[in-house]
């Protein structure tokens, strides 16, 4: 698969897909999308990069071990519910705030952090599987 055309196009495809994955993650609260599907798109981006340049390149690029990324996502998702304790509402209740940044109102919620956690779990878990499979193919 390491043709010139593919290797030239792969970085652009990867970058675009990663951007798209974040977009899908963020629009997920009220529209189709969310952490799971966004995470899968990001994994597909890493897989494309891995097919084009080999697995070590991807491992260096994401810096952290995929399982550590998955762990951090799980932690974020679990802790996003714990914030409810301070507000005397049940675990995992959605807490909202709308701070104004540079004149733009941004809705920030614990739901969003839970979704980011899901995103990271999917990215970490499935990337780990995908990279091991690609490594086996290379070797």
């Amino acid at each position: 698969m390491r043709t010139l055309i593919f290797r030239t196009a792969a970085p652009f495809i990867t970058a675009l897909m990663l951007l798209l994955s974040v977009f899908v993650l963020l629009r997920g609260h009220n529209d189709p999308g969310g952490g799971f599907i966004g995470g899968l798109i990001a994994v597909a981006a890493f897989a494309v990069q891995g097919i084009a340049f080999g697995v070590p390149v991807v491992r260096r690029a994401i810096y952290f071990h995929p399982m550590a990324i998955a762990g951090s996502g799980l932690l974020l998702a679990a802790l996003s519910g714990v914030l409810s304790y301070a507000f005397a509402v049940p675990y995992l209740s959605g807490l909202w705030s709308a701070p104004s940044l540079f004149g733009v109102t941004v809705d920030v919620s614990t739901v969003l952090f839970f979704d980011i956690g899901v995103y990271l779990v999917v990215v970490g878990g499935i990337t780990s599987i995908a990279l091991s499979l690609e490594e086996r193919e290379d070797g």
């Binding site: 609260h29 550590a68 762990g71 799980l74 679990a78 005397a88 509402v89 049940p90 995992l92 209740s93």
Partner: protein
């Protein structure tokens, strides 16, 4: 939040008042292991801290469960519904005596197994994430015991099942993979049946909240296919609990992993099947259970006798322990077949006792295997003279597993035999006694061969790690305490059985406004 575009009155679907801090205890046994497991995944190369983090988390979880047990024994069940939605829209966690006592003993046993793992799990095991898997499995186990929602129960089954696959193949031997495949396929079939049944339940009742199901089931008994639903649950959970004739996955897999993993599985996982059976067949499908009482009794009798016969036929200590787990499951199922308060109390008591005793038996097998040369009864010998303390521990544990005094196994069997005689099922009482006799024979054979028989000259007896002995002594403490003073546990399992047979307090905890109806 798209609050501007359409207005929905959410007040009727949301919990209005503040939630008491004490209610938060109910999520601790699930959230804490998940957080700890996540941290272990993040620091997967800092292997020194793994065991200590896991021990600390399990100690806290045990403490949380103990304090919840005190509360439910004093004040009755309590509930918290996630996300602020009112039940049955939100997923409820409901703590009652049955669930919390199982969760407490389960996490205490896991803590002790974690202590034992300090000597049993080497660097490779830690590197492959033994402690992370252990934490996630305990999150699943506690979630299954505490959840009050049928679909959520399925989710926790999946959580502990997937983690248990990881624990099972830690080391990737050929035998382990072979065992894991059998374990995985059979368990996936069971969870699929469980999921199908849950789908049908949702289609029929329009709700999956257990308390809601319990109060709606009477109104639907004429129209809904409740016999089919309860048969599906019965089959799925009997597979999980390893009841005859769907028990063959257990002896095929439980002898392959590390001893500590086998001890955890043998102690905890089949009991979750038993717990789910009690939850579904008594709390929800009580009438249907009465109709299935005879088939369940036959399955129970066959499981306990064939399990004990299987144990008698084995020469590998770990395989023998696996068959003893199955035999115990049969004894527990006899309580379900009876369905009376005494039967269910005996079932719960026996399950709690079995969690401790079966874990101890596996650890004993591991210690004997480490002292002698392997797990085969053909080779072991001379342990009585060489390791007298181990022999004493083994003797007491054998009494516990065979349900003889002074160990704790005696009392639940007495409760169950009494309950069978009270229901006029003399043959079931006979089967319980015969299975106890066969278990005594099987374990007496172990004592005879491994301890009393003179050691063969060619096999030197190795040093027994003092950690293993300490862990075994620790496990013996509750066994002997409960054996000598069983009243508190008998009262607790009685109140667990009462809570299942009369679910009004359970329903009241989830739906405080609506009352019991």
């Amino acid at each position: 939040m798209a609050g501007e575009s359409y207005q929905v009155d959410r007040a009727q679907a949301m919990i209005a008042g503040p939630v008491a801090s004490a209610d938060w205890l109910i999520v601790v046994p699930v959230v804490l292991p998940i957080v700890c497991g996540a941290l272990l995944l993040m620091f997967r190369h800092r292997m020194r801290i793994h065991a200590f983090m896991a021990l600390a988390a399990l100690a806290l979880v045990t403490a949380a469960n103990a304090s919840m047990l005190r509360r439910v024994l004093a004040d009755g069940p309590f509930s918290m519904t996630m996300g602020g939605w009112l039940p049955p829209f939100g997923i409820s966690f409901t703590a009652d005596v049955l669930g919390v006592s199982f969760a407490l003993v389960g996490s205490a046993v896991a803590f002790i197994c974690c202590l034992y793992s300090l000597g049993d799990i080497d660097r490779t095991g830690r590197r492959y994430g033994f402690y992370a898997f252990l934490m996630l499995m305990m999150a699943g186990v506690n979630g299954a015991f505490l959840t009050g929602d049928m679909f959520n129960l399925y989710v926790w089954f999946e959580v502990f099942l997937i983690s248990s696959f990881g624990l099972l193949i830690l080391g990737s031997d050929k035998a382990q993979i072979d065992g894991a495949v059998k374990y995985a396929i059979l368990n996936l079939v069971a969870t699929t049946l469980f999921l199908i049944a849950t789908g049908y339940v949702y289609g029929t009742f329009g709700t999956l909240n257990m308390a809601d199901l319990a109060r709606k089931v009477d109104g639907l008994s004429d129209t809904a296919p409740l016999m089919t639903l309860s048969a599906l649950y019965l089959l799925a959970f009997c597979m999980k609990a390893a009841a005859f004739p769907v028990n063959f996955w257990l002896p095929a897999s439980y002898h392959t992993p590390r001893i500590v993993t086998a001890a955890l599985f043998g102690g905890l996982l089949t009991k979750i099947g038993i717990y789910a059976l009690m939850r579904s067949m008594i709390l929800i499908f009580a009438v249907e259970r009465a109709a299935y009482s005879m088939p369940i009794a036959i399955v129970a009798g066959a499981t306990m006798i064939l399990g004990a016969l299987g144990a008698l036929a084995q020469s590998d200590l770990r395989r023998m322990a696996g068959f003893l787990v199955i035999s115990g499951v049969g004894v527990m199922l006899s309580g379900l077949a009876l369905g009376s308060e005494g039967g269910l109390a005996g079932m719960a008591f026996y399950a709690l006792n079995s969690m401790v005793v079966m874990t101890a038996l596996y650890i004993l097998a591991g210690t004997m295997g480490a002292a002698g040369a392997g797990f085969s009864l053909h080779d072991l010998g001379g342990l009585y003279r060489a390791r007298p303390l181990l022999a004493a521990i083994a003797f007491l544990l054998i009494l516990a597993a065979a349900a003889l005094p002074p160990a704790s196994g005696l009392w639940p069997k007495i409760v169950l035999v009494q309950a069978s005689l009270a229901e006029g099922a003399g043959w079931l009482a006979g089967a319980i006694l015969v299975s106890g006799f066969l278990t005594t024979l099987a374990l007496g054979r172990v004592f005879l061969l491994a301890f009393w028989r003179p050691a063969s000259a060619s096999l030197p007896i190795a040093r027994v790690p003092s950690l293993s002995l300490a862990v075994l002594l620790l496990l013996l403490v509750p066994v002997l305490l409960v054996g000598l003073y069983p009243e508190p546990v008998i009262a607790m399992s009685g109140s667990a059985a009462k809570g299942l047979l009369d679910p009004s307090a359970y329903i009241q905890a989830v739906f405080p406004q609506a009352g019991g109806g």
